[in-house]
Symmetry: C2
Subunit: 419 residues, 2 copies
């Protein structure tokens, strides 16, 4: 088949679907922000799933639902033996989520299929659109849970037993409750020919550099650690400095060092302390304990291991200096993922052929694509996030950028679908 290079998606239709899905669990901000709260396996998630599945059915797709609630819709190709080209993402959100994170990738898949239908395009390979359960991990840890189970990185029995952070409900029970415990076995019996995912950047780099398409080369490795330092609560006025065992002093020294080390290492190293809790948290009492989290990310596993070692050693040394006890607990640890070189080249070449500025970049956030990368050639297409915001009801990407990214994804899909 010729002429598919000129096929284009309908940006308005895609944005209308984004709007409609975003109205389920809608959150409206004081300054016109239009966010979304559809935590995994809640009633809102069910309503969102129902809407997307109804669209899949309207498009005549073959819908399969697996034992962890992942939904895969298939548009047949001319060769019944060929492995499919899959696109997808997730439709669950964080509590203070936007309407683009995840949803864009799934609805772009529907838009691609509707475009193919409209132009009576018959591909050799099937084209699949998937949404994976609980990508955010906001209600059930770990994140990317559904795609992990899909590729066999996490046992389904273990995943079904995860308890909800909000109300302690068991994941498997919630899945049954909302009617999304499907019959298809996991891990999947066969995997796609390749996988591509359109996603918002969720960071400020593309906008800052005035670039439309991020060509995603992989996903940073992630190291999440919870640090607990226990000292001795005492009166802030009557306890001389040399007799103190102050866990906040240890934490401040360690967090300051963490920031310096990340600065010395330079990009792409990032380091964040986003959570810190003092006990008893009173102005005139030296704290008895502090619990804080360290989020470290790098594309290079060796460097990531290096900064972990350096920072953890500093925490231990500073705790010892202060006469405090320290314990550290790994909350999550993913090695960096490198996407397939040919897929990366294809995304880049396609975006440039469509006239867009491009930039190769790692993803700083985790995505279902990094799980799919274990089983098939994978890449991602990033589009800019206004003000770099995500996981925020002010999350926004312009219709022009959405259309640009969706057309890149369409062309990437077609390049493989006729293979």
């Amino acid at each position: 088949m010729g002429g598919w290079h000129d096929l284009r998606i309908d940006g308005d239709r895609l944005c209308q679907r984004l709007e409609a899905l975003g109205e389920i669990g809608a959150v409206h901000g004081p300054n016109g922000e239009r966010g979304c709260a559809r935590l995994a396996l809640t009633d809102e998630d069910r309503q969102g799933r129902d809407l997307v599945v109804s669209w899949m059915a309207d498009l005549g797709l073959a819908i399969s639902m697996d034992a962890i609630g992942n939904v895969v819709a298939t548009r047949s190709g001319s060769d019944p033996t060929a492995a499919a080209v899959m696109v997808g993402s997730h439709i669950d959100t964080v509590r203070t989520g936007g309407r683009f994170d995840g949803n864009l990738g799934v609805l772009c898949g529907l838009e691609i299929i509707e475009t193919l239908d409209q132009h009576d395009v018959v591909t050799r390979r099937p084209v699949q659109v998937a949404f994976f359960t609980d990508e955010e991990g906001a209600r059930f840890a770990p994140d990317m849970l559904g795609s992990q189970v899909y590729v066999g990185a996490l046992a389904v029995e273990e995943a079904l037993d995860v308890l909800a952070a909000d109300n302690g409900a068991r994941l498997g029970d919630e899945l049954n409750r909302i009617g999304y415990a499907g019959p298809t076995p996991v891990p999947a019996a066969s995997f796609p020919h390749c996988y591509a995912e359109l996603h918002i950047e969720q960071g400020p780099v593309l906008e800052q550099e005035g670039i439309t398409i991020g060509v995603v080369t992989g996903v940073q490795g992630i190291s999440w650690t919870e640090v607990t330092i226990v000292g001795q609560s005492a009166h802030a006025g009557t306890t001389p400095m040399h007799l103190r065992h102050d866990p906040m002093a240890v934490a401040a020294r360690a967090i300051h060092e963490l920031r310096l080390v990340a600065g010395y290492l330079g990009a792409p190293q990032v380091a964040t302390v986003g959570s810190l809790t003092l006990v008893p948290n009173l102005i005139n009492v030296i704290p008895s304990s502090v619990v804080f989290t360290i989020d470290l990310r790098n594309t290079n596993e060796a460097i990531l291991e290096g900064i972990e070692a350096q920072v953890f050693a500093a925490c231990r040394a500073y705790a010892s200096d202060e006469g405090c006890q320290i314990s550290m607990r790994t909350l999550a640890r993913f090695e960096p993922v490198e996407f397939d070189d040919d897929m990366i080249d294809l995304v880049e070449a396609t975006a440039q052929r469509l006239g867009h500025s491009t930039r190769r970049m790692p993803s700083g956030a985790g995505h279902d694509a990094q799980m799919l990368a274990r089983v098939c050639p994978t890449s991602m297409v990033f589009v800019p996030s206004v003000n770099g915001l995500s996981h925020n009801i002010a999350e926004y990407t312009t219709p022009a950028d959405i259309e640009a990214g969706a057309n890149v994804l369409l062309q990437v899909v077609l390049a493989h679908a006729f293979e």
Copy 2:
């Protein structure tokens, strides 16, 4: 009158009163700790006040209650025109309080009076026992509220309008509710001849040095500041370090510097960050804001002003470096107080005459005595705190030390009561 040098209090009786008062609002810890929660003007505070007032009445004292709820009980002297020797403290506690802080000073006053009664001692001057409202400031800021109003350092109208930190109740309404809004005007129409207060050290110094009696030379100046730093919440994985406005990084740098500066200055400088709150406090989100408190204390006003200037400038500079907004709010500021030289000498000589080891020391904590020092010669007697603990249900002082301190206070009172 002769022979009063040999008068001694009854330590068991004093400890029994401490136990009985401590049972009101009692808090029991898992390791046998026996603490107390009688926040100012709560039902528990009322019950505590009622018990102490009933003891005052049993001793036949003339009880006056003033407009801010301070209670002063008077044992007459032989000279109806002579100003009284006053002892006192407070009976409110913090939420995680012990049974000695404050209570010891008030109940020691009752014990002194019962000892005088028992031995038919007639003093020239009246002897007064006072408890002052809301010394802790834990429910109604500022602390030492009642004694401030008593001496005229704080207008009663302003004090009555203070709102409770726990439920927003107005202090004046709570005072009425518990029946302790008295008729005696404030500030007091006349002030005592002198004031002396027995108190636990609330710190580790006496115990560390093996000393029984702390001769208190004054009270450290106190500077309490709330620092608010506002940055930009963003994704911890996708936001490069150089594009961040991370208020936690600013706070860590400033808190680390604060600790270093306090160390350089050396004793008696102390510096504490006891409270810190991050928003939104999530592992993978750069915080949008941090609020933390700085507690600075020194006996030297010039040095205290110096460290304030240095630390506040550092906070502003580090916030600016990070592109964050900063605001600072003074929560409390008391200049250092120096007690009366003759009263200090008297406490020291008395303790040594009774055979106790002594150490001159400033108080690191605020006390009602520092307000009384504005209107009459004042000093304090400290006794050791086991493990330096206070504002803690494990707060403890041995019966032997309590008896030693109470006898020093008795003899100090008598030295002035016959003048």
